[in-house]
């Protein structure tokens, strides 16, 4: 049973560019959350997707957007990259948003994004 998989593992971009990160949730999970983890910090909530809709959003600008597909996989898009966007981007999946099940998060290993 595969866990949460993320791609790519590492990515280098320059300021102003756009990036797309991908996530496949754990088998059987229907909810995907995205977190940003800066070096030496805890994960910061970006947004959560359930039934292909953004269900919750953290304090991130509109440059951060996402999508969930019918197979529950998800993408995170960041436009107009800034140096401060350099971080580890974590995808977490869970079960049954709206039923309390979204508490038990299973994280992928993340995508390390470097913006030069």
């Amino acid at each position: 049973d595969a866990g949460v998989t993320q791609s790519p593992t590492h990515l280098i971009k320059t300021r102003g560019q756009q990036v797309t990160l991908r996530c496949s949730p754990k088998s059987g999970h229907d909810t995907v959350s995205w977190y940003q983890q800066a070096l030496g910090q805890g994960p910061q909530f970006i947004f959560q997707y359930y039934e292909e809709e953004e269900r919750q959003r953290g304090n991130f600008p509109d440059r951060f957007s996402g999508h969930q597909f019918p197979n529950y996989s998800s993408e995170l898009n960041v436009n107009a990259l800034l140096l401060g966007d350099s971080a580890l981007y974590l995808c977490a999946s869970s079960l049954e948003a709206g039923q309390g099940g979204s508490e038990k998060l299973f994280f992928g290993s993340g995508t390390q994004l470097s913006v030069l």
Binding site: S33, E103, F106
Partner: protein
Amino acid sequence: QQQVKQSPQSLIVQKGGISIINCAYENTAFDYFPWYQQFPGKGPALLIAIRPDVSEKKEGRFTISFNKSAKQFSLHIMDSQPGDSATYFCAASRWDDKIIFGKGTRLHILP
């Protein structure tokens, strides 16, 4: 506003000792308090969690102590081992809301 405050930032413990990490929260609506463990190059993994209706939960060498009146909770690792060396995050959430993480504690167990 930091809703979950974690201390210490780093901790060094001798093998076989007790590691203690503390967290304080502000929002009394929080009703779920997990601890996550993260190794370098990996995502966080759920270690143990507690709800405010109990004051303590134990799973193997890991124990959460919860003080609702003080809005504090802590993780105790008994008989700490070198393999426990990792970064630990406390977190909190309301029912079905986003999970908010502390800034983390880097734990190093001396062999």
